[in-house]
C-alpha cells in the first residue's frame, strides 16, 4: 500500500514538468508547492523533482561528480573496530557518486552529468564529498558543490536512516535503499540553481570554458581571468566569439568529454554489476545492527546474576565472545563482498588508468599542436 502510494505520488510529481527558470516566479512557487504536496503524507519520503522536457540550453549546466573520499583514513584497526571495511568503502566511493548521478539525470534538470575519476576545477559544477557513515542502517555523506567561479553552492551532510523494509525485494524494486538521500541532494541542487539568474549561469559556463582554455594554453588565456578579494574567479576580458582558438579549444574539450563518457560507462557497468551484491551487503549490515540492538535490549532487561558467581562470569565472557564472533562474521561478509566486487572494480580501475593514460597522452599532444598553431597565428 505504501509502495503504491509512493508510486502514485512519484507519478504525479513526474507528470508535472518543472521549469527552473527564475524569471517565472509562479512556476517557482509551483515547484515549492510540489515539494510540500509530495512530502506531506510521507515526510520521510523525498520525491525527485523532475522535468518532462530538457531544460533550456542556457540553464543546462554540466555536472561532474568526483569519486568520493572513502573516509577510511589510515588506521585499519580503528576502522575494523568501527565496522568499516576498506575494500567495501573503496567500492562504495565509486558506486555512490553514480547513484547520485542517476538521481540528477532522472530529474532531467541538467546538462551532461558525469562521474569523474579525479577533480577538475574547471567543471561548470563539481560535486565532491566524503563517506561519513555507510552501515546499511544509515548512510551519511558530506557533499560539496562548487561552480567554475569557485563559488560554493552547497556544503552539507546528508544523513538518512534506512526504513525497516528497505531491503525487502518488493520494496527495492520500487525504491532503492537511501533513494531519499539521492533525491534530496538533487532537489537541493535544483533549488540552488533556481536561485541563480540566466546571466549568472551563463557566467559559470563562460568561466568554465576560459579555465579549461587557460589550463590548455596558459600563455594565451591566462590573463582572461582574475580573482577578487574573496578568492572568487572574475572575468577580466572575454575572447571574441569568432576567435578560432576558442573554437579549437571547444573541439578539444569535446574530445575530452568523449573519453570521460567512456570512463563514465565503466562506472555505469560497475553500478549495475555491484547493485545486487551491494544490496545484500547492506541488508546483512542492517540485520546485524538490528540484531545487536535487540540483543543489547535483552541484556539490559535480564536479571543480573550474583557478582563473581559462575553465571555472572559466564555471562561476561559470553558477551565478549559473541561480540567477537559477530565481528568475525562481518569480516567474512566483507571478504565475500570483496571476492565478488573486486574483479569488476579492478577491471574498472585498469580501464580507467589505461583511459587516463591515453587521455593524458592525447591531451598533451593536443596541447602541443594547439600551442604550435597559436604561435604560427600570432607570430613571433
Amino acid at each position: 500500500m505504501r509502495g503504491l502510494l509512493a508510486l502514485v505520488l512519484f507519478c504525479s510529481a513526474a507528470g508535472q514538468a518543472q521549469d527552473d527558470s527564475p524569471e517565472d516566479p509562479l512556476k517557482r512557487w509551483q515547484t515549492l508547492d510540489q515539494t510540500q504536496v509530495v512530502a506531506a503524507p510521507e515526510p520521510e519520503r523525498v520525491e525527485l523533482l523532475m522535468r518532462s522536457t530538457a531544460p533550456p540550453p542556457h540553464r543546462a549546466l554540466e555536472i561532474g561528480l568526483v569519486v568520493l573520499d572513502p573516509g577510511t583514513g589510515g588506521d585499519s584497526l580503528a576502522n575494523r573496530q568501527q565496522g568499516v571495511f576498506q575494500d567495501v568503502r573503496a567500492a562504495e566511493s565509486r558506486y555512490l557518486p553514480f547513484a547520485l548521478r542517476r538521481a540528477l539525470v532522472d530529474s532531467n534538470q541538467w546538462g551532461a552529468v558525469r562521474v569523474l575519476p579525479g577533480s577538475d576545477p574547471g567543471y561548470e559544477l563539481l560535486v565532491s564529498g566524503r563517506i561519513l557513515v555507510s552501515n546499511g542502517a544509515e548512510l551519511s555523506l558530506a557533499l560539496r558543490v562548487r561552480d567554475s567561479l569557485d563559488d560554493v553552492w552547497l556544503e552539507k551532510t546528508y544523513s538518512f536512516v534506512a526504513e525497516e523494509n528497505a531491503y525487502l525485494e518488493t520494496e527495492r524494486r520500487l525504491r532503492r535503499p537511501f533513494q531519499d538521500l539521492y533525491h534530496q541532494f538533487a532537489n537541493d541542487l535544483l533549488a540552488l540553481k533556481q536561485q541563480r539568474s540566466d546571466k549568472q549561469l551563463l557566467r559559470i559556463r563562460e568561466v568554465s570554458e576560459l579555465r579549461y582554455a587557460a589550463d590548455l594554453l596558459p600563455d594565451a588565456f591566462g590573463n582572461y581571468l582574475g580573482r577578487d578579494e574573496t578568492g572568487q574567479i572574475t572575468v577580466e576580458r572575454l575572447p571574441a566569439e569568432d576567435d578560432p582558438m576558442v573554437a579549437r579549444i571547444r573541439q578539444v574539450r569535446e574530445q575530452e568529454y568523449l573519453f570521460i563518457d567512456t570512463t563514465d560507462q565503466q562506472y555505469a557497468d560497475l553500478y549495475t554489476e555491484m547493485t545486487p551484491v551491494y544490496d545484500l551487503w547492506r541488508q546483512y549490515l542492517w540485520e546485524q545492527l538490528a540484531y545487536r540492538e535487540a540483543w543489547e535490549t535483552r541484556l539490559a532487561e535480564r536479571d543480573k546474576p550474583r557478582r563473581g558467581s559462575y553465571q555472572a562470569m559466564k555471562q561476561t565472557y559470553n558477551n565478549y565472545k559473541w561480540e567477537k564472533i559477530q565481528r568475525e562474521e562481518m569480516q567474512t561478509l566483507a571478504e565475500g563482498f570483496d571476492n565478488e566486487v573486486a574483479p569488476t572494480a579492478m577491471e574498472l580501475e585498469g580501464k580507467v588508468v589505461k583511459l587516463n593514460g591515453s587521455l593524458d597522452q592525447r591531451y598533451r599532444e593536443w596541447r602541443d599542436i594547439l600551442r604550435q598553431i597559436y604561435q604560427l597565428e600570432t607570430g613571433p
Partner: protein, 230 residues
C-alpha cells in the same frame, strides 16, 4: 592521533577504567616481541586428552587438600593454613566457579593456526579467533566496549590477555615443543579477590586430508567450490 601517543593513551585509559567496577581491568603483563617467526605455530592441532588437565580431577585434588588442611587445623597442626572452615568452603566455591569457566573457555578440540611474520590467527572450534598483529613491534592492544585485549610475545611464548568487566582476567599462554609436534595452551582465569585457576591444554599436530575442492565465499552465491585441479 599521533601513533606514538596512542599506546600510552590506551594504557592510561585502561588504567583509568580499571578503578571502575564494571570496566575491564588493564592487562599488566609486559610483553616484548622477539624476532618475528621465532616460533611458527602454523598448522592444525587436535586436543590431546591424555596430557591435558582434567578439571574434575584437579578439583578433587584441591578438595582433598582442603580436607587435609581442615583436619590439620582440628588437630592443632602448625602446618595448617589458618582459615576458618566457612572461609575455606567459600574459597573452594570460587575455585570451582573459576574452574568451570576455564573449562568452558578452553573447550575447543581443534585449533587451526595461520601465522605470518606480521600476524597470527588461532581459529578455535566453536568460539572466536585469537588474532594478533606483530607488525609494529609492540604488543597490540584492542579496546572494545565489552573487554580489552593485549597480545604479543614473551620470549618463545605467545600471550593473549583479555581483560573483561568486573575484574575478570583471562591469560592464554601458547607455546610449542621443540620438535614442533605439540602445542601447549595454558589458560589462567583470574578475578579480583579470588584465587586464579590455570588449566593446561595440550594439542598434537595433525595433517588434514588434502582438499579436493577450492572454495570461495561470495555474498550472493555463498560458498562456491570447484575441484582443485580446475
Amino acid at each position: 592521533m599521533n601513533k606514538n601517543l596512542a599506546p600510552a593513551l590506551i594504557a592510561l585509559l585502561l588504567s583509568a577504567c580499571a578503578s571502575e567496577p564494571e570496566a575491564p581491568a588493564a592487562p599488566q603483563t609486559a610483553m616484548v616481541l622477539p624476532t618475528p617467526l621465532v616460533r611458527d605455530f602454523t598448522g592444525h592441532w587436535e586436543m590431546d586428552y591424555g596430557r591435558s588437565d582434567n578439571v574434575d580431577q584437579k578439583l578433587r585434588s584441591l578438595y582433598r587438600e582442603m580436607q587435609r588442611n581442615a583436619e590439620r587445623m582440628a588437630r592443632g597442626d602448625q602446618r595448617a593454613r589458618m582459615a576458618s572452615p566457612e572461609l575455606q568452603a567459600a574459597n573452594f566455591r570460587q575455585v570451582v566457579d573459576m574452574a568451570r569457566l576455564a573449562d568452558m573457555i578452553t573447550e575447543s578440540q581443534v585449533l587451526e593456526i595461520d601465522q605470518t611474520r606480521e600476524d597470527i590467527a588461532i581459529k578455535r572450534e566453536n568460539t572466536f579467533t585469537l588474532s594478533c598483529v606483530f607488525s609494529d613491534e609492540k604488543p597490540q592492544m584492542v579496546i572494545d566496549e565489552l573487554g580489552s585485549e593485549v597480545c604479543g610475545w614473551d620470549a618463545q611464548q605467545l600471550l593473549f590477555r583479555i581483560a573483561l568487566p568486573d575484574g575478570l582476567d583471562i591469560l592464554h599462554r601458547v607455546s610449542m615443543s621443540d620438535d614442533r609436534q605439540r602445542l601447549h595452551v595454558a589458560t589462567r582465569v583470574n578475578r579480583r579477590g579470588a584465587a586464579p585457576f590455570t588449566i593446561n591444554r595440550f594439542y598434537f599436530r595433525f595433517d588434514p586430508l588434502p582438499e579436493d575442492y577450492e572454495c570461495e565465499y561470495t555474498l550472493s552465491r555463498g560458498n562456491v567450490c570447484q575441484t582443485a585441479s580446475q
